[in-house]
Symmetry: C2
Subunit: 336 residues, 2 copies
């Protein structure tokens, strides 16, 4: 089947429009350069540090873009509702707080404590549900009907995808400022809003750059969907430490973008993710959460084929519980 003429949910102009909308709202996160670490790796490693975004993850971008657009079209909107394992929860809660909306967030009862605490800290009401027995979307719909609230989905929404894509647009201008055309850009993938948006922005400016997703082992729905040519769900599997990357299957809107723009998806083990978190602590001086480090884990595994090249890695979130920070600190130095 030829998908080349398919109309995608988001294009580069949508991302540029989102970037205009987010000016003065989201942080332009730095693209960090580590010359001596790169020398030891044998390839140039540039880190897009979304850990330093408001709420500690890229999710604030999409949530703010969605709410700013909704505010412009419906001045009477007062409340929003979202379901999320944690980072989208925080992004929506913080965006709602800053833009003057009441937020209710439906979160799984096993979400990391730091994410639940932060979501409440941003002023949102948190409704907990059982991940394996309750339907979070039904809970969210009931709240939305009761409160006249807007549901802010985690990825399958053009404004969300375009908002996350602003991280990619920043990568293009920051790479140009360094005089670099990346050979590879990689971002963690759950529902695929981030990597879809980033691919949209980066491919528009650097058409030859290869864009990869990174997924946790056992939650490799995108890899298998790309191979199958259609969206397939995850198989029942052991839990992963990447709590942020557990979407059931690629999004209806994001998957066509992935299929058209991605070079592929790299699958990483929990062990590789912990090593990447340790690498980030020791060599990058960054706290990265497990899901946020999936792309870093992937490029460390690709070291051989990356020699002499330039890789941009989106570290997408930094909301790691202290216990997880300690588990990573206990690993040896992956560079020794």
């Amino acid at each position: 089947m030829d998908h080349s003429s398919e109309t995608l949910a988001v294009n580069a102009a949508d991302v540029r429009e989102a970037a205009e909308r987010l000016k003065g709202h989201a942080i332009v996160t730095p693209l960090l350069d580590y010359p001596l670490v790169s020398e030891r790796l044998g390839f140039r490693l540039l880190i897009k540090a979304e850990t330093l975004q408001i709420t500690g993850s890229f999710k604030f971008r999409g949530a703010s873009n969605r709410l700013l657009a909704a505010k412009a079209t419906d001045p009477n909107l007062r409340a929003v509702v979202a379901f999320s394992s944690g980072n989208h929860a925080q992004g929506v809660a913080a965006a709602a707080k800053l833009l003057g909306f009441k937020a209710t967030i439906v979160m799984p009862s096993d979400a990391p404590a730091i994410k639940v605490a932060n979501t409440k800290g941003y002023g949102a009401e948190v409704v907990l549900y059982q991940r394996h027995s309750e339907d979070r979307e039904a809970i969210a719909r009931a709240i939305a009907e009761r409160e006249g609230a807007l549901i802010v989905p985690p990825y399958d929404d053009p404004f969300i995808i375009a908002g996350q894509g602003t991280a990619g647009l920043e990568i293009t201008s920051q790479a140009k400022a360094l005089g670099v055309t990346p050979d590879l850009v990689i971002a963690p993938c759950s529902g695929g809003g981030l990597v879809g948006g980033v691919a949209t922005a980066v491919k528009d400016v650097f058409p030859k750059t290869a864009i990869y997703a990174a997924e946790p082992a056992g939650y490799d729905d995108l890899s298998r969907s790309l191979a199958a040519g259609e969206r397939v769900p995850n198989k029942p599997s052991a839990p992963s430490i990447c709590d942020a990357l557990m979407a059931e299957r690629p999004g209806a809107l994001t998957f066509p973008i992935h299929r058209k723009l991605l070079a592929g998806s790299k699958v990483v083990s929990d062990e590789a993710v912990l090593d990447a978190m340790s690498f980030a602590q020791r060599h990058l001086k960054l706290v990265v959460e497990p899901g946020g480090a999936a792309g870093l884990a992937a490029v460390l595994a690709m070291r051989g084929e990356l020699q002499g090249k330039t890789a941009v890695v989106v570290c997408s979130g930094g909301n790691a519980d202290p216990e997880m920070i300690k588990r990573a600190a206990d690993r040896g130095d992956p560079l020794l």
Copy 2:
């Protein structure tokens, strides 16, 4: 005694010259903005993240400025030697490697393992000495004589002070870009090259900004020297976790700068430093080493008097051993 007419070792023009020299060598580190963390604190917290400088600390700036200047005046110079507990060691080793010098570093036998390993990793020869029984300066002088090497002092050198000051010059332009005039700028202090250089650059642009040093309890030689009006050494004291901030007394060149430009020096306990490291992990998503977090510890203690103001905190280094990262992770959340 009136010191106002005293000629200081470094002025703002020297710092600007150093910044020109360091272009393309040192990283322009980001001034990080955390709007929602600031809202919870009640004051605007901006972090100058020298943890993200090459070698994980500001020391690379001064070392590179010293070596670049030496290279320009003596094209035959081939070797350098330095004594340091760790961050200056890494800064000199990395600058030497990148500029083509042989480096020998004299380090105390109790320096953090990560700093010794990194110094060797940058290609330097490491000579260990006993902190309490051997004279590191004599060892360095003997090496310098034998090898015709340039001694690169940790702080008492105009090029070193001016190089560290480039972090302050960047703060001024980055604060202007945010439309902010800081009420306070604070930097950790050992021999005082960093805070002296930063004060020189910041006071030139923002004369009303108060500049503070931060020192560990038991190593409060600057506080007591400012009170005495002359350089006094530390009293024999319990060890501190701030291994980077253990200079014996303020420098001969740095102290006149401190006396003229600083509003004071804040003294912080090991407990406060660990809390600041925990705060950095949880809320700033940064790995900061104990000495590097002294300024952060100080502003967290000054929270009451900072309400509504803007504080720029230099987090000066991130070379924390995994054990220290874990000790910080075990602290509770200082914001709760």
